[in-house]
Symmetry: C2
Subunit: 132 residues, 2 copies
């Protein structure tokens, strides 16, 4: 794995550590202050901009998740100063499939994007059982 | 709106035009051949790489969607040569919330990423009714 890919995955891991530790201050640090940011939490409308994004994390981290949130099968795609990570989020209540976006700022990979949605129960795909 | 944002939205519109027209050849042209690409269709496991991505579109476009697929409320975030678009997909069967990723290649914005997932029925967010 290239060093830049490892650096992105380290930032991705830091996100899940802050998530698991209910660490709002850590979460705030992880998100870019220089670029537009957005999150799409499952069951929420999209949230655009720092104020609603951080507010949503405050609400979620205060909600008291019952177990650590981890991320498996992470795949990273580095495109210059931007990177996308796809991974499976393991929560006690569900498994989600996630896109996390990062931008390189002064040597640090900062989050700019997060979309989490339901993962199918099976890894098999049957024809015609999905919208697209 | 800046010219580069408009160019990204034009590429985003072209994606939905190809989708609506069941235009597999057009769809193949829209996706990057120079970078890693990925899609997360609702109800599918993530698909990484050109072969599975294009194969999925072949399957979906052959499935015969009953009406055009359009995209509303598009928000674009341009970060140099990479751009992310969040929009609401309107299908006859459902509304989905989507992240589309693009990379600038020789003057053209090419797709590299697509995640579509369920949109909440209401735009209101009630505390405690979601995982995160």
């Amino acid at each position: 794995m290239k060093a830049e890919e490892q650096a992105v995955l380290t930032a991705n891991d830091a996100f899940y550590t802050a998530f698991s530790n209910h660490d709002l201050a850590g979460m705030e640090q992880l998100w870019s202050k220089q670029h537009d940011i957005a999150v799409i939490h499952p069951g929420w409308p999209p949230l655009l901009g720092r104020r609603p994004v951080i507010s949503s994390w405050k609400q979620i981290l205060a909600g008291g998740l019952s177990s650590p949130v981890s991320c498996t099968n992470a795949k990273v795609n580095v495109l210059g100063n931007v990177a996308l990570v796809i991974c499976t989020e393991l929560l006690s209540e569900a498994e989600l499939i996630t896109t996390n976006g990062f931008v390189l700022e002064a040597g640090d990979w900062k989050m700019i994007h997060h979309q989490a949605g339901p993962l199918p129960l099976s890894n098999s795909v049957a024809e015609g059982d999905t919208l697209h």
